[in-house]
């Protein structure tokens, strides 16, 4: 059984994101980039499934510029067996990503495609669902626990009302939630070994996928500065204030 784990290169979660001065996007130059944290959790889960003897191969893939190979190498150092890089310098929106992933699925025939539930840069939360629709296979999103038994995955999801448990037939699309696991630290000897693992490059155009944007971004702006607080003298004043604002 193969597991395909798509990983996205995003601005590291520790970086305070800045909008470019011309408003054309978010500053990424000279900024630390990482694997999208949810994707890393998905990869960790795939590796644990493999280590438990329930999968033979974990393949990481990424769609984007040459720089994505840094994140693919990190994925290989974590323990993935090989990497696929779909090369494009264009912006890749969820639908285009799902279409490209479908091509990789057709090529590799995985039993599970394990994605992050969303990417922390655009927070779209769409790619996994779109891929499931295009592939016409079941999906179990926001997984906080995954059990595999033969051709069935039992997936626990955190929903507003509590925990929901789904059973899906494989092949299927799974997406990871934050509490699924805590990803491992990358061991230094494995970083050196990752250099020798296979990384295959495929041009997006070669897959016959049109990255042409479905959505157009018109402007970026930073959130407004928070106005300073105001000290009130008494509880009564606070209650009045809240009533005035229609909050009570």
């Amino acid at each position: 059984m193969k597991i395909l784990v798509p990983i996205k290169r995003v601005v590291d979660y520790n970086v305070r994101v800045r909008v470019k001065s011309d408003g054309s996007g978010v500053e990424t130059e000279g900024v630390k980039m990482s694997i999208n944290p949810f994707d890393e959790i998905a990869l960790e889960e795939a590796l644990r499934i493999k280590e438990a003897g329930k999968a033979e191969e974990v393949i990481v893939c990424s769609i984007g510029s040459k720089d994505c190979q840094q994140q693919l190498r990190t994925g290989l150092a974590m323990g993935a067996d090989r990497a696929l890089h779909v090369l494009t310098d264009d912006e890749v929106q969820p639908l285009a990503a799902a279409r490209a992933l479908l091509k990789l699925v057709e090529k590799e025939d995985p039993k599970i495609v394990f994605l992050g539930k969303q990417a922390i840069d655009d927070d779209c939360n769409q790619t996994g669902q779109m891929l499931a629709a295009l592939w016409q296979r079941p999906q179990a999103t926001f997984a906080s626990k995954v059990d595999l038994d033969g051709e069935i995955a039992t997936v626990t999801r955190e929903v507003d009302a509590g925990l929901e448990t789904l059973e899906v037939d494989l092949p299927a699309v799974l997406t990871s939630d934050l509490r699924l696991n805590e990803p491992r630290f990358v061991k230094l000897p494995d970083i050196m070994k990752a250099k020798r693992k296979p990384l295959e490059e495929i041009a997006l155009a070669e897959l016959g996928v049109d990255a042409g944007p479905a959505l157009e971004t018109t402007a970026f702006e930073p959130p407004p500065k928070r106005a300073g607080g105001r000290m009130l003298e008494s509880v009564q004043e606070l209650v009045d204030e809240l009533k005035n604002k229609g909050l009570l």
């Binding site: 800045r18 470019k20 001065s21 500053e27 130059e29 000279g30 900024v31 630390k32 990482s34 190979q69 840094q70 190498r73 990190t74 150092a77 630290f185 990358v186 061991k187 230094l188 000897p189 494995d190 970083i191 050196m192 990752a194 250099k195």
Partner: protein, 387 residues
Amino acid sequence: MHSLDPLDLYSIADELTDEERMIRESVARFVDQKALPIIAECFDEGRFPTELIPEIADLGLLGSSLEGYGCAGLNGVSYGLICQELERGDSGLRSFVSVQSSLCMYPIHAFGSEEQKETWLPKMAAGEVIGCFGLTEPHGGSDPANMKTHARRDGEDWILNGAKMWITNGTLAQIAIVWARTEDGIQGFIVETDSRGFEARDIKAKMSLRASVTSELYFDNVRVPESNRLPKVKGLKGPLSCLNQARYGITWGPIGAAQACLDETLRYTADRELFKRPLAANQAVQLRLADMARRITAAQLISLRLGRLKDAGRMHPTQVSLAKWNNVRMALDIARECRDLLGGSGITLEYVPIRHMLNLESVITYEGTETIHQLVVGRELTGLNAF
């Protein structure tokens, strides 16, 4: 114009290979998630976090630049980056790894017999055997040639007598690399710490490097088998070559400590409002912050260049001396400045500068005091020995 990383104004990160960058990120993450949450408490309690040893070993940080025997075989720059990230956490953590890697595993690797290497190195890489390094003696560390600890032959064995002082990991260790005077000059011995006549005692009431174990070692007729003598080196160049490895790493470590202090102080002075403006909006504050960034940048460039020289096999000990002197001084001064800029908050362990400041008082003393390194550079320039 894009904005710069305040802790890396010259984008040194771009000069690293992908592997070097991944190594740094992996160690940084370990430090953020495992060390920083507990280290101030360890410092306060005066204990080394032994609970981190298995993870430190598992990451591959012990003996990381050695080839074979379960070691990672990384280059010098990678070892430097490991030191930098560990010391961003605490000098005690970095000291632990420096001692185990450069002062204990390195001499076994470089000067040991095949049997010694196979006996000790894999266990040391796995963190199952901890080492300490005994060179300094109570009567004066700066003059190791005047060594009193001695070993004499007794049949197939050696009998060791003397004392060592200020020994990192002393009471944690299963083996001590002990340098002793013999009829054939100074030689190194692997002394198993459960040997009869060996005693280690912790030095108490330290105000520096509190999250690290520092001990005194006593040898009272300790019997050491010939098979535990390091066969491939005689003379002071044995211990000095170990120190050269460790000092190289120490040039990187304080960069991390200084970055941690500046990082916290940048945030503190931006958020704190005095006289109706952020503290950081004052010229007097900005001049100090700018000067810190300047000094960190210079130290980064020195260490990176030194690392590339080391990896090309061209590193000169005088270059290590200049870098150790410059970079530790840089970090100590920055930690003190940051402590001051934090006002009253700066005297507590809630904030990092005072901990780094106190730690760096050890770092400026051990592995050759600042003065000794200055005199090494002086000797290089003048050809005159002024020790």
